[in-house]
Symmetry: C2
Subunit: 108 residues, 2 copies
């Protein structure tokens, strides 16, 4: 064994896990923060901003895209990446709901 048993869990649980997993690497957090900082989509200079080789960054971008956290569209020679608000909203409402449930809790 060794593979995650996704079939034993609900679609909703797997979806949150996939998004969280994609955020579970500091390089990918750094990519997101850079996208926020530059405040626009043209992102051809991510490679110069991060201490990783170009293929590695390309791979991280792919994972963020697969998880729906960023979206990319081809714009001539460069590729325009930006954050997909919908996915961030999923996280926002998920964790907010946890906080709200906890506030009603008899837990420690």
């Amino acid at each position: 064994m060794g593979a995650t048993k996704t079939e034993h869990f609900t679609d909703a649980q797997n979806q949150i896990a996939i998004i969280a997993k994609a955020l579970g690497h500091p390089a990918r957090i750094a990519i997101i923060e850079y996208l926020l900082k530059v405040n626009e989509c043209i992102c051809g200079d991510i490679v110069n901003e991060l201490p990783l080789a170009q293929p590695t960054i390309s791979q991280h971008l792919k994972e963020l895209k697969n998880a729906g956290i960023i979206k990319g569209s081809i714009s001539g020679n460069t590729i325009c990446y930006c954050i997909d608000e919908k996915t961030i909203d999923i996280l926002n409402s998920y964790f907010l709901k946890i906080t709200q449930t906890l506030s009603k809790s008899k837990c420690c």
Copy 2:
């Protein structure tokens, strides 16, 4: 190679990544949702609730604990686990800030 180059990123980036990574598995999401559902700390029956063997669940609990997402205290024979609100709050404010930044963005 193969290991994550944490030293190249900020402490804040690594912290978010560690928390997100711990949430990046459906079994651990299921554990959290179960903790929320029972609405209390005594959690000796997680093993009966999840389709995984006891050592596997124990390992997932350990990872959630290491990431600060749950806290556990020994209570006689059983161990009392519950969600650590502080860590959920870190996520809430992190993703909320992203949403707020995006709303001011000239991005697509």
